[in-house]
């Protein structure tokens, strides 16, 4: 099935994308003709068991990986044909990232980490937006600290602020709470949801945690490289139920 956005403008779109790793007997099909749209100003979660292709889908959408077939659009730009230079620029200017491992530069202070993508692009942060973001993530008194002096939750909030600061078209979050305790994770997730609700940020998040997915506006389920289901306005329970259903033999799944 194709996961379509229920009307409204589209921030990112995948059309019939295929991704195959290896060849011959070792061939693994990670994505088999996935089509999906991610609405602007929406918080979408991609879920699925390990090996379902959810990370691959996100990497292809974010221009970190190339697709073997099909097209990917970010806003109005088709990115599946872009070279390294253009992709680098695209990532720099129009995409934000949040990783499971935080991935902060240990040599830079929190503030420097937050402005890093802007610095690379040679742009200045909008002071008003800076105050808003820093205020929202609650890092005001931690800005001069090095990552090693921050807790995991704080580090991830720095990473969130970094992703938000350039006001990218889309933020891709890869298991952002995977390394956090539930309280810190909850903080990060509400903060992400807040940025969607209040500032119209688009976020696509890969997760396998039903609680994390419940913060999203919409959940897309992947299994064996295909989209198998989706859920609007999810709660932890409905997500869990869907997952359980997907885990049982496929013939019993109502699609």
């Amino acid at each position: 099935m194709a996961a379509t956005n229920a009307g409204g403008p589209v921030a990112a779109r995948a059309e019939e994308i295929w991704k195959v790793y290896g060849s011959g007997e070792a061939q693994v099909v990670a994505l088999r003709g996935v089509s999906a749209e991610f609405g602007r100003g929406r918080f979408t979660a991609i879920m699925g068991p390990s090996g379902s292709g959810k990370s691959t889908l996100m990497h292809c959408l974010a221009g970190l990986d190339t697709v073997d077939k099909g097209t990917v659009h970010i806003g109005g730009t088709e990115i599946s044909t872009l070279g390294d230079k253009a992709l680098t620029r695209l990532r720099r200017d129009r995409i934000g990232f949040i990783f499971q491992q935080f991935n902060l530069l240990p040599t830079l202070s929190a503030a420097e980490n937050i402005t890093l993508p802007l610095d690379i692009a040679g742009r200045k942060a909008d002071p008003q937006w800076w105050d808003t973001v820093i205020g929202t993530v609650g890092l005001k008194d931690r800005l001069r600290h090095r990552p090693s002096q921050l807790s995991g939750g704080q580090q991830q909030r720095v990473a969130c602020a970094r992703a938000l600061m350039g006001r990218p078209d889309v933020i891709f979050a890869d298991e952002p709470t995977g390394n956090l305790d539930s309280r810190s994770g909850g903080e990060v997730l509400s903060f992400l949801r807040q940025s969607v609700r209040e500032h119209g940020q688009t976020i696509v998040m890969v997760t396998h945690d039903p609680v994390a997915a419940s913060y999203a506006d919409r959940v897309v389920f992947l299994a064996d490289g295909s989209i198998v289901d989706e859920l609007a306005n999810p709660t932890a329970e409905t997500v869990l139920d869907t997952m359980k259903r997907l885990d049982t033999p496929s013939d019993s799944v109502m699609l």
Partner: protein
């Protein structure tokens, strides 16, 4: 455990290759030196056994002044023709041939230039017919006074054929001969080991080569049938008495060969010295590599500890790795050394004009020392990292890999103590002690300070690297590179220290040499008043000389105020060897030199004040001087002159010159009348020395520059040789960067993900490399300038009166270091730029 070690070793091939390269280069030098020595030794043995193959017994006169060939001193000791007759009449003698055989017969080639020789002598001899080794190639032996024969090497080099007129320089000025014969040696050899030979008739050879009639250099004696050389020697020795040396051919062959080998020892020392530098720098590199390897394997080693490996086993696992690396590097280094030895041997034989090289052999000593040095150096460098590895707590297996930087306290304390001790020794040597003890204190202090600074490098690296980095911090990649270079002070420091060693040595030598050069120039400008000099470059044991008649003719040129020639000889004074000078007329020499002195009488000498003080002579002292030839003569000290007002420290009268080893002047001083331009006279003087191609007439400035040129040559040589140490240091920088890239895979991935372009990534790595390299060079230049100044200061009494810091050269070294950084960064930077972003950020 052993298998686990080997497995992890193979997994890091590239890194080990890089660190192993330093050991390979060091071992290459060691084994190369030994292979070369062995080959040359066998070559010399075979040459001399050839030279003396036709000699049963040889008789020579005991030299009047003891000489050693190692110092390049040549002094002939002629024996009278009567001795040949005496020997002929002895029982057991089949024949006795008087031989003239002396270095210094210089053939002027068809192009008008004197045939040069690096090493093998240019022998002038008397033709005594062919022996069983010689074969006439064309023509015949010389029979008339104006006839000569040449060996085939000389004829070929100079481009002469039988019938040509050949000019030859000897003890006497240029003379022309007709070439009547060319000879070679058995086995198709043109000469024995590239020696150039000119054969005259006996009287001509005596006159030209020895300067006396009826004397010979040696007598070759053939034993009658049934008499062994040893028996013949024992019979002749008592007959001839104490004034003669009687030796068998075998004895002479062994002696000559041994003395040449000794001369080669110096060359060997140089090679081994550079092996030492290479290995010293290599230790830094290996230490760094193993430290990093251990840091990276923290988890793995902790796991081994957690599942029950003992500390000793962990230490052993690191040391086994070191032994394997050392062993492989030794094998490769040995092979490279054999190649280098063979190459140098060929170069050597080429330079000496076709010496027949013995086949290359690999002496056992080369194999043993290669492995000893290679393995020892590697293991020593790995001990510290191994100990550190053993201290990893098992719990580290469960923790995050991040290894916090250990505090530098201990290192800093040690470094400060060592530096302070070195500085104290230096200070004492410079300002308190005097004489030899001062020199030793200074040299020791320099070495200790060197080590102290090396220990302090991590501490210094923090502020300096941060400051240096600011130069590049104008862009984001530059800023990131700067931060990265300051990240691990120890690693940065060790990498930079390796570069420091090479650059400090080069800078130190440069400072000493430039100081010496500038002192020499200043001295020359102060004391040398002669405007025109006659001199030549000495290319062998025999100094270049010119026709004595030139001096008088030069003085006759209008506008010349005075001209004087200077003669040198090695003499014995009270049994001690010294170099002395002589001139035709001291008053003329003084005038040409810009001072005044009285003419010396036939039995009078002039002595400089310091020389007189040292020897405890006063005006009126009686001194017996034995020149190279002739009889000892007693002179009276008639003048004691202020140092530097005349050339040399002991000056003999003209009458002494005939007893000198070389009876022609080696230097000439010409002073012009006031107001006469040098350019007006110089061409005429040049024309006068046209027949003495070994020397040239130059103005004062050119002369001083050419005298100072030797220092530039030494600097160039040191630069080339220490370039090797710098090459090894570059490997260190590459190694460190490659590891940094590897360690920071995730960070690089993130940077690429958030939009750092490939070019920017490369720039970031390059800045890191350049900062490290420039830091090392900066330290090296600073330490080198300090050490060099200290050494130059220590040599104050030896004539280094000025200390010059060569800013331009030091600037060049810094610029080169920056270039080195850029080059070292190429591969790691490409690797970083090619990094797959996905792999870099994907979680485990």
């Amino acid at each position: 455990m052993f298998r686990a070690t080997l497995k992890s070793l193979l997994a890091r091939k590239l890194r080990l290759v890089l660190s192993g390269l330093a050991v390979i280069l060091g071992v290459m030098f060691v084994s190369g030196a030994l292979v070369l020595t062995d080959t040359l030794n066998r070559t010399f043995d075979s040459i001399f056994s050839d030279v003396y193959a036709a000699t049963d017994v040889s008789v020579t006169a005991k030299p009047k002044v003891e000489v050693s060939e190692m110092d390049g001193e040549e002094v002939s000791a002629p024996l009278p023709a009567s001795a040949v007759e005496t020997i002929k009449t002895q029982a057991g003698v089949r024949s006795a041939t008087g031989r003239v055989d002396a270095d210094g017969a210089r053939v002027i080639a068809t192009d008008g230039k004197v045939l040069t020789s690096f090493g093998p002598p240019r022998i002038g001899s008397n033709w005594t017919g062919t022996d069983e080794m010689m074969e006439i190639r064309s023509g015949r032996g010389p029979e008339a006074p104006d006839e000569i024969a040449l060996n085939a090497t000389t004829a070929k080099l100079a481009g002469y054929a039988v019938g040509d007129r050949v000019p030859v320089l000897t003890q006497q000025p240029k003379r022309e001969f007709t070439l009547v014969g060319i000879w070679g040696y058995t086995g198709g050899r043109d000469s024995i080991s590239g020696v150039q030979e000119v054969a005259f008739t006996t009287p001509v050879a005596q006159e030209l080569m020895l300067g006396e009639k009826d004397v010979f250099t040696s007598v070759t004696v053939a034993a009658a049938d049934g008499v062994t050389p040893d028996q013949l020697r024992d019979r002749l020795a008592p007959v001839l008495g104490a004034g003669y040396e009687v030796k068998t051919g075998a004895q002479l062959s062994a002696e000559d060969s041994a003395s040449l080998k000794e001369g080669m020892g110096f060359f060997n020392q140089i090679l081994l010295g550079f092996a030492g530098v290479a290995l010293f720098v290599g230790i830094f590199l290996i230490l760094n590599t193993f430290s990093i390897v251990v840091a990276q394997r923290t988890r793995e080693l902790a796991l081994l500890r957690a599942i029950g490996a003992s500390r000793r086993q962990v230490i052993n696992s690191v040391l086994v790795e070191a032994v394997v690396v050392g062993m492989i590097a030794s094998v490769l280094g040995l092979l490279a050394g054999i190649g280098a030895g063979a190459g140098l041997g060929a170069l050597f034989s080429g330079m000496s004009g076709g010496m027949d090289l013995a086949p290359i052999g690999v002496p056992l000593s080369a194999v043993i020392s290669s492995f000893t040095v290679g393995i020892l150096v590697t293991v020593v460098a790995a001990v510290m990292p191994a100990l550190r590895a053993s201290r990893i707590a098992p719990v580290a297996a469960m923790q995050d890999v991040a290894t916090p930087d250990r505090p530098l306290t201990k290192l800093t304390v040690a470094g400060t103590v060592v530096t302070a001790a070195g500085a104290a020794a230096l200070g004492t040597g410079l300002f308190v002690a005097s004489g030899d003890s001062a020199l030793y204190l200074i040299l020791g202090g320099v070495l200790v300070t060197f080590i102290g600074v090396a220990l302090l490098t991590p501490l210094i690296s923090r502020p300096v690297v941060s400051l240096l980095g600011r130069l590049f911090a104008w862009s984001v990649p530059g800023r990131l590179g700067r931060l990265n270079s300051g990240r691990n002070p120890r690693r940065t420091a060790i990498t930079a220290a390796a570069l420091m060693v090479g650059i400090a040595l080069v800078t130190g030598v440069t400072v000493v040499m430039d100081s010496a050069k500038s002192s020499l120039k200043a001295e020359a400008a102060r004391i040398l008043k002669a405007q025109i000099m006659i001199s030549g470059d000495q290319g062998g044991p025999r100094p270049p000389t010119y026709d004595p008649a030139v001096v008088d003719r030069a003085e006759a040129i209008p506008g010349v105020r005075a001209a004087a020639g200077l003669y040198n000889d090695l003499v014995a004074i009270g049994g001690e060897r010294s170099y002395i000078a002589a001139t035709e007329d001291l008053s003329r020499l003084a005038e040409a030199y810009g001072t005044t002195a009285a003419k010396l009488g036939a039995d009078q000498i002039a002595v400089s004040a310091p020389e007189a003080a040292e020897r405890n002579w006063q005006a009126g002292s009686q001194v017996s001087i034995q020149t190279s030839r002739g009889e000892a003569h007693t002179y009276t000290v008639s003048q004691v002159f202020t140092e530097d007002t005349l050339p040399g420290s002991i000056i003999l009268p003209a009458e002494a010159i005939k007893g000198f080893g070389i009876t022609q002047p080696v230097l000439g001083f010409i002073r012009l009348d006031d107001g006469v331009a040098v350019s007006a006279v110089l061409p005429q003087v040049k024309a006068l020395v046209a027949d003495s191609p070994e020397v040239s007439a130059t103005d004062q400035q050119t002369f001083v520059d050419s005298q100072a040129a030797i220092f530039d040559q030494i600097i160039t040589m040191i630069q080339i040789l220490l370039g090797l140490a710098i090459l090894i240091a570059v490997l260190g920088v590459i190694n460190t960067l490659a590891l940094s890239v590897l360690e920071r895979t995730r960070e690089l991935g993130l940077l690429r993900a958030v939009g750092l372009g490939r070019a920017q990534t490369m720039r970031m790595i390059t800045v890191e490399a350049v900062v490290i390299a420039v830091f090392g060079a900066l330290l090296g230049v600073a330490v080198g300038a300090g050490m060099g100044s200290a050494v130059a200061r220590a040599l104050k009494d030896d004539g280094i009166t000025q200390i010059v810091l060569p800013w331009d050269r030091m600037g060049t070294y810094l610029a080169l270091a920056a270039l080195v950084g850029v080059i070292a960064a190429v591969l790691p930077a490409i690797r970083a730029a090619r990094l797959n972003v996905l792999n870099a950020i994907a979680h485990d």
